[in-house]
Symmetry: C2
DNA sequence: ATTATATATATCATTCTGATATATATACGC
DNA sequence: GCGTATATATATCAGAATGATATATATAAT
């Protein structure tokens, strides 16, 4: 999916600044996709130049102006068209996997070259991290305003449920099988 | 983890060509990490220049020479050092998550803008894909020679077990909850 | 009082991917 | 037997994305 379609999709949930879009990529969304400032800001500028979004500047004394972008009719149309063709090419491509870069997995893979002690700490920290993630996904209390819209999407309930189940399964597996990593050929 | 450490780690399992290293990133490893030819070949050249690997050219009549790289003592030392500091910075960084870009998740997220029909096909294809993946991870028969070494790693048994359990959980969840995505606000 | 964190945008060198070029062998359908 | 597709094998490079840095200030924590 192009960065343009993704930004438009997020703006379809309500007006946002570039900074706020980045924040959306730091909550639960970060576990599935992410874009950096260096991508978001230029994308918003080009979307504005082509009238897919409009922009309102909110001056804030000496801070840089907050530039709040709103998706236009033209933008909504482009987003829907692009989503349709993205779905088609996803289906046609035969490439259904996700692109993953997992430092944790690489450390596991080469664990025989690491001291037991070190690998133990790596696993402990990963378990702690997963437990935190699990709480985040299960948490149903209030969230900051700019993250509220995405939280209330129906699809997000589905995704949160999926993520929670997967993390629980992963945690159980690690606790029950981590002893298998201990035997070394160092 | 640097690409150099990763290539050295794979070469520690036995001599390989660049092409064969790429193949390792296309089997089960592809679900956790991947490098492109454009990264692998230059990395191998620079590792060779710095004597971390040695290279034997196997001429094959009119095909390009197959360049088989073998890790040196110096290379093993560098790899182990780097792995140790990678593990330390993994622990220190507080950044335990994996970097993920999931087209499937984005299509889910914006499913309300897609026809039910399209979303249904996307889910069906994803389910088929996951079932294939599951078979791959569970498959215990013979594999091509260059993939055999990685298959026999103890850590890989742990990882394959983890992947199988996660995929099974994911499949069950999708089958039981996909109806939740049908209600639209289109 | 000082340090760290949060808000807010912008830019850019470095890195990585994905595509392309080159060359041949083999398998497959018709 | 003939064209097509796929596999083997390396190399390069344009284009895209990241991660770091610059700039500026408010606020919270120590």
């Amino acid at each position: 999916m192009q960065k343009e379609t993704l930004c438009l999709g997020l703006l379809s949930l309500g007006p946002r600044s570039g900074y706020e879009i980045k924040q959306m990529f730091e909550g639960p969304l970060s576990d599935f996709y992410s874009l950096s400032f260096g991508t978001i800001y230029p994308t918003l500028n080009s979307l504005q130049a082509d009238k897919y979004v409009s922009c309102k500047q909110h001056s804030q004394s000496k801070k840089p102006d907050k530039k709040v972008y709103t998706i236009t009719k033209k933008g909504m149309d482009l987003m829907k068209d692009n989503l349709l063709s993205d779905a088609s090419s996803y289906i046609r491509s035969g490439n259904f996997g996700d692109q993953i870069k997992s430092e944790f997995f690489l450390l596991l893979l080469f664990s025989k070259y690491l001291p037991n002690e070190t690998m133990n700490t790596v696993l402990n920290e990963r378990v702690l991290y997963l437990k935190q993630k699990l709480e985040q996904f299960k948490y149903d209390g209030p969230v900051p305003g700019n993250l509220d819209a995405i939280r209330n999407e129906k699809s997000v309930s589905f995704i949160r449920g999926l993520a929670s189940t997967l993390i629980e399964t992963g945690l159980n597996y690690i606790e029950k099988n981590r002893h298998l990593l201990k035997e070394k050929t160092k």
